[in-house]
């Protein structure tokens, strides 16, 4: 058992950190980038591709780098550190992850190589206005006519849905929830994009007899694959949240040592420093859980259970640190010009993409009687 990165992983971290620091080390740069569509910087996206980051989790024969969940965690944490708006988790980990898990060899080559090269951005169109973090599709249905398929219904909010070159879409078939691929320029596809509170982009995606290709072989139910892809994305988000929480705490600590009131710097007030200490406790506990869940994924253990645990811990920590970071700053924390509030906004968004803390807790509570104790280094986590 070892929680340290090896030298290649450290190199990856330094390289990604360097690139993202140049792009977003100054929070004002991020504000400018997120003001305009597509909400991220195409040039930075290209640089991430050149570095191999966008193909990180995919097999080499599919055009990827053959790395694993630990490398994904490293990138996600660095993204969180500077709130880089590039859709790494959404396009690579989630949409790309589904293609890698479900797609035929031909589809993997066709979709993952351009994704890895940065020439095609993917998005997973799954959420629906009437569902709530479910792995099953409900409101978009697929109809077959011989070998060809069409989709009808509405997906929203679809993160990155307007900019995506290709959409991976979940839809109801006779066999349950199947996955489809829809080209961005397909007929009968209407995409209405908008800005989200954290500077990201989402869209209403409406399908009206839109031509689609079945992802993978057969129309069997894919909720298990979706559940697993969600789990890997939740773990990546957990690491992104850790990066964001670390910056939020560091920014807050620096502010406390600089801002003066009543003739002294704020760190002279124990009421404030104790709260910062509690933020540190939350951060370190969340970090341990996020790293562990990444290792469970790497070891081939029960990734769904590990992801729920990471989700719960980072949800609680994210809310705690996000709210306190603003409160300890005072009024400046709620301004758009100053950076700390954006961290709170992003942590709040992460909390609602794939299930919040209470949602994860409900799932853990439902199985709490199934095990006498939890052994993080044993079954079912070690694979």
């Amino acid at each position: 058992m070892n929680f340290e990165f090896d030298s290649e992983q450290n190199d990856l971290r330094e390289a990604v950190r360097g690139l993202l620091d140049r792009a977003y080390g100054d929070a004002e740069q991020r504000r400018q980038v997120t003001k305009n569509d597509p909400g991220f910087d195409e040039k930075t996206w290209g640089q991430l591709a050149e570095m191999g980051v966008l193909g990180l989790p995919f097999a080499e024969e599919d055009g990827g780098m053959g790395a694993g969940p630990v490398e994904v965690a490293i990138v996600a944490e660095q993204i969180g550190r500077v709130l880089a708006p590039e859709p790494f988790v959404e396009a690579v980990v989630l949409a790309g992850g589904l293609v890698a898990a479900v797609g035929t060899a031909e589809q993997r080559a066709e979709l993952l190589a351009p994704l890895s090269e940065g020439s095609s951005v993917l998005a997973f169109a799954h959420a629906e206005p009437t569902t709530r973090w479910s792995a099953a599709a409900q409101g978009v249905t697929a109809s077959a006519d011989g070998d060809s398929w069409t989709l009808t219904g509405v997906k929203e909010p679809v993160l990155g849905g307007a900019r995506a070159d290709v959409l991976v879409v979940s839809a109801v078939t006779d066999g349950g929830t199947a996955l489809f691929v829809v080209d961005g320029d397909a007929s009968g596809l209407t995409r209405t994009g908008y800005r989200t509170h954290d500077g990201g982009r989402a869209a209403n995606v409406t399908f009206a007899s839109t031509p689609a290709r079945l992802l993978g072989e057969g129309t069997g139910d894919r909720t298990a694959e979706i559940e697993k892809a969600f789990a890997l994305a939740r773990i990546a988000y957990a690491n992104e949240a850790v990066g964001a929480m670390e910056t939020a705490l560091r920014t807050t600590s620096e502010y406390l040592t600089q801002r003066k009131q009543f003739g002294v710097t704020l760190n002279k007030f124990q009421a404030l420093t104790f709260r910062a200490a509690d933020m540190y406790v939350s951060l370190e506990l969340a970090r341990s859980t996020a790293l562990w869940a990444s290792m469970v994924a790497d070891a081939g253990g029960d990734v769904v259970a590990a992801a729920d645990r990471a989700r719960l811990q980072t949800s609680r920590a994210g809310r705690h640190i996000g709210k306190e970071a603003i409160q300890l700053h005072g009024g400046i924390g709620v301004t758009a010009e100053y950076k700390v509030g954006h961290y709170t906004s992003r942590l709040t968004a992460i909390d609602h993409v794939l299930g919040d803390g209470d949602w994860a807790l409900d799932r853990l509570a439902a199985t709490v009687g199934d095990h006498p104790t939890v052994d993080p280094l044993g079954a079912p986590f070690t694979g």
């Binding site: 058992m1 070892n2 929680f3 340290e4 990165f5 090896d6 992983q9 630990v70 705490l249 600590s253 406390l256 040592t257 760190n267 124990q270 420093t273 104790f274 910062a276 200490a277 509690d278 540190y280 406790v281 370190e284 506990l285 969340a286 341990s288 859980t289 790293l291 562990w292 990444s294 290792m295 469970v296 790497d298 070891a299 253990g301 645990r309 719960l312 811990q313 807790l361 409900d362 853990l364 509570a365 439902a366 709490v368 009687g369 006498p372 104790t373 939890v374 993080p376 280094l377 986590f381 070690t382």
Partner: protein, 391 residues
């Protein structure tokens, strides 16, 4: 990064588990499992069983019975011991004065005390806190004045845990009241509890138990050879000792056992046609504490796996703070599972309330101590804010 233990450590863990569950008398483990009072004889018997197998003081220098284990091995040893409901080796002996003597004592003191300390042939108690020196320990006022070949000790200690069983006390005394910094005028003395002039008085606690004491010193004569280290060097040793006290203080294994118990007991309670464990709110509470405990355990593992070079990991300060909070959360769960039955705390014969429900509230009240001792949680927050966050 690697999740699994190495095959060697898996074997080590299995060996520990087997030993603790088969070689420590069942009746003693049952006492701990039922959260009943562990007697002096039981403490001694359990520690001697461990010591005979080389498992009482693995963290000491090899010369004095230590095992040269890695921090991770020690962590596994402690966790398995707690999970198996084995009383831990007496902290005053094995975590406090033993390591201090091994580090600062002279050869004669080491030979005189260490083997007996490991085997609990001598039961030590801690003479640190005083009525006006708690978190601010350096304000202590008990004095030791040199008189020929002896020190004469006068003053009072308090919160002396299990002092009623103790043979000897290790006692911080002010030996230089004129020192510019109060920390520099303190020395560490050792003396038997039956020395003339030592009186002990029990402090009754909320749980009705007798766990701590006041100890009074009136012209207690202590031979000069019983000074540990140099005169006025006591604060260095106190800090060394308190640093050791925080090792293993997260008590993850103990809390894990409590949660296991909470689930078993919640399953036995019927409310409105279902068990209490099937009540979503109760299940959620247990699951939340269980997840927080997982996060704590992982943090402890991060700390021990990455502290091989001897420097404490910054996150180690989290362990005491969160570990104590989760011990308290677990004992609170047990009270809430007992519900109205918890009121029968002091029932004796003639009560139909099960034993576990009777001990629930006294233990919950007793466990308020864990966020106070070993450096209160407010002291831990001060350390985190100051040394980690630079505030």
């Amino acid at each position: 990064m690697r999740l699994q233990l190495s095959p060697e450590l898996e074997t080590f863990r299995e060996e520990m588990r087997t030993f603790f569950t088969t070689q420590v008398p069942q009746e003693i483990r049952d006492t701990v499992a039922a959260r009943r009072h562990v007697s002096k004889e039981q403490y001694v018997e359990a520690q001697r069983a461990l010591n005979a197998a080389g498992l009482a003081v693995p963290h000491w220098p090899v010369e004095w019975g230590g095992r040269d284990w890695t921090p991770l091995q020690r962590h596994i040893w402690r966790e398995e011991m707690q999970l198996a409901c084995v009383p831990e080796p007496l902290a005053f002996n094995t975590s406090m004065i033993g390591p201090v003597l091994a580090q600062f004592g002279n050869q004669e003191q080491k030979e005189r005390f260490l083997a007996k300390t490991a085997n609990l042939d001598i039961w030590w108690c801690q003479g640190f806190s005083e009525p006006d020196a708690g978190s601010d320990l350096a304000s202590l006022r008990t004095t030791a004045v040199r008189d020929g070949d002896d020190w004469i000790v006068n003053g009072q200690k308090t919160w002396t845990t299990l002092g009623q069983h103790a043979d000897w006390i290790f006692c911080l005394c002010r030996t230089d009241p004129t020192a510019e910094k109060k920390q520099r005028g303190i020395s560490l003395l050792l003396f038997p509890m039956d020395t003339p002039g030592v009186t002990i008085r029990p402090i009754e606690l909320l749980d009705g138990g007798h766990e701590v004491n006041e100890v009074f010193f009136e012209d207690v004569r202590v031979p000069a050879e019983n000074l540990v280290g140099e005169e006025n060097q006591g604060w260095t040793m106190a800090k060394f000792l308190l640093g050791n006290e925080r090792v293993g203080i997260a008590r993850v294994g103990t809390t894990k056992y409590y949660l296991k118990l909470a689930k078993e007991l919640a399953r036995e309670i019927q409310v409105g046609g279902r068990t209490l464990l099937d009540d979503p709110r109760m299940a959620g509470r247990i699951a939340e504490v269980e997840n927080e405990l997982l996060a704590l355990e992982l943090t402890a593992l991060r700390v021990v796996a990455n502290s091989a070079d001897g420097r404490p990991h910054p996150a180690s300060s989290v362990l005491k703070l969160r570990g104590s909070e989760l011990q308290q959360a677990a004992t609170e769960l047990l009270v809430d599972i007992a519900g109205p039955l918890s009121l029968a705390s002091f029932a004796d014969g003639g009560s139909e309330v099960p034993d576990w429900a009777r001990v629930a509230t006294p233990e919950y009240l007793n466990y308020r101590k864990v966020s106070i001792y070993g450096g209160s949680n407010e002291v831990q927050r001060t350390i985190i804010a100051g040394t980690i966050l630079g505030l």
